[in-house]
Symmetry: C2
Subunit: 259 residues, 2 copies
DNA sequence: AATGTGACTGAACCGCGGGTCAGAAATCCA
DNA sequence: TGGATTTCTGACCCGCGGTTCAGTCACATT
């Protein structure tokens, strides 16, 4: 087997591609730029990957499977906790009991792990979020997102049924807020040169979630006019979606009149 | 002036373009598809816009200026409130006093307005977030995002200095969470066929913010181990950003050895 | 009707970038 | 040293899609 392949070529391509994707998006990245960054020629790319989409898919796959694994461990850990200690009730929460604190610590630890994972794949996350619209990967992003939203919503619902969180809150909406926060944070990570204090992030995130969903107990008055009529709710907006598109093709255009 | 232009042509093009951008992203949208959706020919597009980027820029400009205007009104309203009633202190918050409730209502009303605006431009928002990476509009998104993060962080900081919110929280991080929630919600809106109950969304959002940032006062024990060592923080990850890219161009490649 | 004018068409043009492949280069083995 | 073999190069091809423009059409005016 003469002329052994450069052992770093494949890794170098992956790294360069990730950087290029992060800069220009999936569509915008040019294979020649990727190979040039590794000191290779365009043709060399195809010795390792059939297309840039395939390369990206490989990286995304790794990201997704790690995320899935983490998710599974997290679900299992919470399950074990509930079996051992039961679901915290309203009292646990407002009094910040030992077992409530334990659960919060558990969740915080997993939030931190999730943040670490996102940090490691922050560039990929950025591309998935911001540069894969109209590609095969767009749906994948929503798949991951919705999985997370569901997970959060599910555990939220359980606490809700136990009376441990405000019953008026929509679990799905709550989940969206949390996941949305992750998405923006991951995008911000992509622009950072050094790692932020993810541990502090995880703590703040948990605090926000825990305190923000405290059930109403010793509340003095019951918050009547929260909905607030929101003066002048603004007219529906200048333009909605496709108001009067005229015809599918040029065939059916109405002639201005007949001679 | 014979052959008057079809009065709907321009609007139809804008609508069709927005739909197409939302489907395929800025880069992925094809001008011929846009014009075909209006029953026009490709050439007609250039009678109205110099390029698809120009069209998009026009729509984005409208979005941005409405957002800026709303932002200005909001800042002014909060300023007026503070002048009239002062900044709520810790007591106001934990007791949910009248003036605290007023401020929450005010914020909720503006959140609702913002959500309404995002709803009207949900397709544009989706493209800005998810389909403009590597284009001239990418920076614009971050400009808008950062403006909002700063606004939230600023008002957060003020409350923090008054002792009305937890001092341990990073204002910028808090802002990112809120804005991130908006971004994900706007993306989810883009896939909805009918308008959700934005008023409920605004309420939940505010509740989360308000309760989630409650200062520590009558807490029984002072929450010692929140930081949680987070077992096995995971090795830095399989791949970081461009570890060993070899050379800028093919010129400086190291020959494997000399004959 | 004839004519002028501006809206609109669509074939043609062209650059960009993905993908190919004949050949050069590198390495091993005899 | 001279094949044998595999890696890697880079010129080339080609389709896609943005852009152009000569020609056509619809309408107003005369």
């Amino acid at each position: 087997m003469p002329r052994p392949a450069d052992p770093h070529a494949r890794d170098a391509l992956v790294s360069a591609a990730r950087a290029e994707f992060a800069r220009r998006g999936l569509r915008g990245a040019r294979i020649e730029d990727i190979t040039a960054a590794c000191g290779l020629s365009k043709g060399a790319f195809y010795l390792h990957f059939p297309s840039k989409e395939a390369l990206f898919g490989e990286v995304v796959g790794a990201f997704q499977s790690e995320m899935d694994a983490l998710n599974a461990r997290r679900l299992e850990a919470v399950e074990r906790f509930v079996e051992a200690h039961g679901i915290p009730g309203p009292r646990d929460r407002v009094e910040r009991s030992e077992r409530y604190q334990r659960l919060v610590d558990l969740e915080t630890a997993y939030d931190l792990e999730a943040l670490e994972l996102v940090w490691a794949y922050r560039d990929v996350s950025r591309v998935l979020v911001g540069g894969s619209q109209g590609t095969e990967f767009e749906s994948l992003l929503w798949q991951v997102t919705n999985t997370q939203v569901s997970r959060v919503a599910q555990s939220f619902r359980r606490l809700q049924e136990a009376g441990a969180v405000d019953r008026e809150m929509d679990p799905e909406l709550f989940g969206s807020v949390i996941v949305g926060a992750y998405l923006l944070l991951s995008n911000q990570m992509a622009g950072m040169e050094q790692k932020p204090d993810l541990s502090a992030w995880a703590r703040t995130l948990q605090k926000l979630c825990q305190e923000g969903t405290m059930p109403r107990l010793e509340v003095p008055r019951s918050v009547p006019g929260l909905a607030a009529p929101a003066r002048a709710p603004r007219p529906p907006a200048p333009s909605t979606r496709r108001p009067q598109a005229r015809a599918k093709t040029r065939s059916t255009r109405t002639p201005r009149n007949r001679p």
